[in-house]
Every structure is written in C-alpha cells, then in structure tokens.
C-alpha cells in the first residue's frame, strides 16, 4: 500500500524528526547523531540553532554537505559524505567519539531499521547471507544515546510491515528504541508499549493497523501529522 511516493515518504519522515528536535531544543541544547539514509536528511529540516550534530568518525559541529568545490576527502561524516565545518566545531579520535556516545552525552541518535518490534528491539545491521558485512557504530549508538529514534518507511519495498511483533533478523539492541517515525505514524515506546501519537493525514486507524504487524495503543491525544 503506497499512498505517497517513496521520495515524499522519506522527506516526511525526516521533517517529522526535525520538528521533534526543534521543539526539544527550545528547552535545552541538543547533541544529535544522525545515521545514514533518511536520518541524514533530518539535518536539512532542522531550524533551531541550538542543535549540534556529532559524527561518530570524530567530529562535533558537523555542517552541511560540502558543495562540489568544497569537498575534502578528509572531512567526512560517518556515511563517507564530504561535509563542512561549523563555528565551534571540534575533532577527536574514535575512542573519544564513542565515549561521548556510550557515556550518555549524546541526546539522541536517529537511525534506520529493517525491523522494530513491540518491545523496542531493533534489527538494523545485517541480513544473514547477504552481500553486506558490517555493524559499524549501530550497536554502540542504540545502547549509548539517551534517545533512539528510528526513522524508517512503514513497510518494505515488498509491502511487508517493518513494525513487527518480534524481530526475526539479528538484533542490534534489546528494547532500545524510544520513538519510531514512519511516513504513516509516529510511535513512542511508553511503559514497554508502542503508543501511536501521530497519524498520516491520508489514512485511517484501521488501515494503519492493517499495515502494522506490531500491536500498538492509540494516544488519547492522537494528532494528525503536520505535513505540508
């Protein structure tokens, strides 16, 4: 079931996460780590200047992606994308960088996932016997960041739910997800339960339940997503 294009879905997910951060940053400075894919797009929608981006390859204060003439192969983010510096940025080695993450200094990480289940357990690092072999910093990020925000499309390309009852793929972390943002809904893990807080304007609760394997509760304060 596809009510909006993949491109639009991704943009919407990134926007919703950015909205959340912009609001949090009204109260306090935020330090955020963005994963590869949709998470990287979040940076394009953040407007609050009280938000600082960390890249686990050793930088705090990551700026926008470098334009063609600016590219420096030794100034990249964790997705190997050439980026720029911001005023007050700093560089450090990988143990300090993951010290920030593991030590609970990073307010939130935004990552993609293959599957997230009802208990907030995440599978996002490997599909067995595939062509990929790598864990990167995913396990450190989900266990270390204060909040783990999953930014993923609601279903796979084949239309299978990604919000499942129980992860079947090798897991990245047990019960670590705090918020799941898809183009169809925004879910918070509260008291070990998935609670729907926002729903897409295009669909009904019935339809959302059909395309979601995981059980979820509906917030008494359910809102329709604020999307343009």
């Amino acid at each position: 079931m596809q009510v909006i294009s993949e491109e639009k879905a991704k943009q919407r997910i990134a926007k919703l996460v950015a909205q959340y951060f912009d609001k949090c940053a009204e109260e306090k400075t935020l330090f955020i780590n963005l994963g590869v894919g949709i998470p990287t797009m979040v940076a394009d929608y953040i407007t609050n200047t009280n938000i600082f981006l960390q890249a686990e390859n050793g930088m705090l204060g990551v700026g926008k992606a470098a334009s063609e003439g600016q590219k420096d192969r030794n100034l990249i983010n964790a997705g190997r994308v050439p980026i720029t510096e911001t005023s007050g940025c700093s560089f450090f080695d990988s143990s300090t960088s993951f010290g920030m993450i593991r030590g609970g200094h990073i307010d939130a990480t935004v990552i993609g996932a293959f599957e997230v289940d009802e208990e907030g357990t995440i599978a996002n690092w490997i599909i067995p016997n595939g062509k990929q072999l790598g864990v990167g910093g995913a396990m450190d990020l989900v266990s270390g960041a204060r909040q783990v925000i999953i930014a993923m499309q609601h279903t796979t390309k084949k239309g299978q739910p990604k919000l499942v009852k129980k992860c079947k793929l090798p897991i990245t972390g047990v019960g670590e997800a705090d918020i799941v943002v898809t183009e169809m809904g925004v879910f918070f893990l509260e008291n070990n339960k998935l609670v729907l807080k926002q729903i897409a304007p295009e669909i009904s609760l019935d339809i959302l339940s059909c395309i979601t394997e995981a059980d979820f509760e509906v917030s008494s304060d359910l809102k329709v997503m604020d999307v343009d």
Binding site: N74, F91, D93, P170
Partner: protein, 218 residues
Amino acid sequence: MKKLKSIQEAINMIKPGSSIMVGSFGLAGYPEKLIEALAESELKDLTIISNDLGSPGIGLGKLLRNNQIKALIGNYYNWNPEVAMANNEGKIKVTLVPQGTFAEAIRAAGVGIPAFFTPTSAGTDLAQGKEIKIFNERTYIMEESIKADVALIRAYKADELGNLVYYKTARNFNPLMAMAANLVIAEVDEIVPTGTLDPECIVTPHIFVDVITAKEGI
C-alpha cells in the same frame, strides 16, 4: 633523526603473517603510500585490523584482491562487498567488533588494560560466547583489548622527534593505533622542525612513534 625512513625501508620491517593495524575511516586518513608499498610487497597471511577495508581495489581493498589477507578484525565492510564474498567463500576469516568497542579495545591495548565492560552488543549475536556482568541492573559485555604487531598510521605533520598532529576527520583511529602496536609507522604529509608544533596541540607524543615516513618520500 633515526626514526625517519623511506616508505620501502619501513615496509621492509614488517614480517609475513603479521597482524597490522591500519588507521582510516573509509578513505579518510589512511596511510596511502604505505598501503601501496604493502600491496606491492611479498607480505602475505596478514591479519588486518581496521575500521573497514576501503573500496573494492582501492586502499586496503588492494590487499584483498592480492590475496595477502588471512583475517580481518574490524566493523564495517559494506563499502567493499568483496569482503563479504571472500568471507562467504571461506577465503578469509572476519571478526566483527562494534565500532565503539573496536576503538576502545585498541585504546585499552595501548594503555595496558586487558579488558573492559561495555553495554554495546548485549543480547546480540556479537556478544555470543563473551562474558557478561551486571552493574546497576544493566547487562555489560566483557571485551578484551586489541593489539597488533604493527600499526600503519596516517598523520598530517610530524616533528623530527615523531610528535604527531592530525587533520580533521582523518584523525579517527590513528592516535589509538599509535599506542597499541609493537612497531608504529607513521606516514605524514609534512615533517617540521622539532619545537614548531604547539605542545598543547600534539595529539600523539613521540614516545608512541617508532618510524616516520613522509608521503612524498624523503
């Protein structure tokens, strides 16, 4: 000035079958000329300890194509799909360690700590067979330090003693590996007179560096 050697002299110090740490994150901050010379050498059966393996046929990827690698210890090989292929075919043995654990384990070797506890990977396949321990009601995994025979690192500038400074995100694992190997060889862009690097800004003090080799040759 005895630390200063040519790329070839430096590579000649490495024995076949060595475990070799290589600084890098993707293609940022890797010792290009040293890897090139290593790829042209007869050295085989190497265990390469690095974040990733560059791209297919580029950087560390060359060593895989040359069949010089016996084993890999690292964390992210998705940028070079030839690694998964070689692993699936049983040609090499790959040990995956989460990136933060990998960084910390290398530092640990450098600072004389044989093992430490981390929450990372608890409950996952990568924690299988590892000792666990509960602190404050949370499960932690015991991870052992990672050391090597040789470290090939990349720095921006060295002074004549071997003090090093790095360049932006090319720093990554390099300062950690400088502490964790028996023989530490640094490839640098520039060698400057001792006394010209700010003592407050030196990242790797010269005590950790055995050999300096300049990218452009000396």
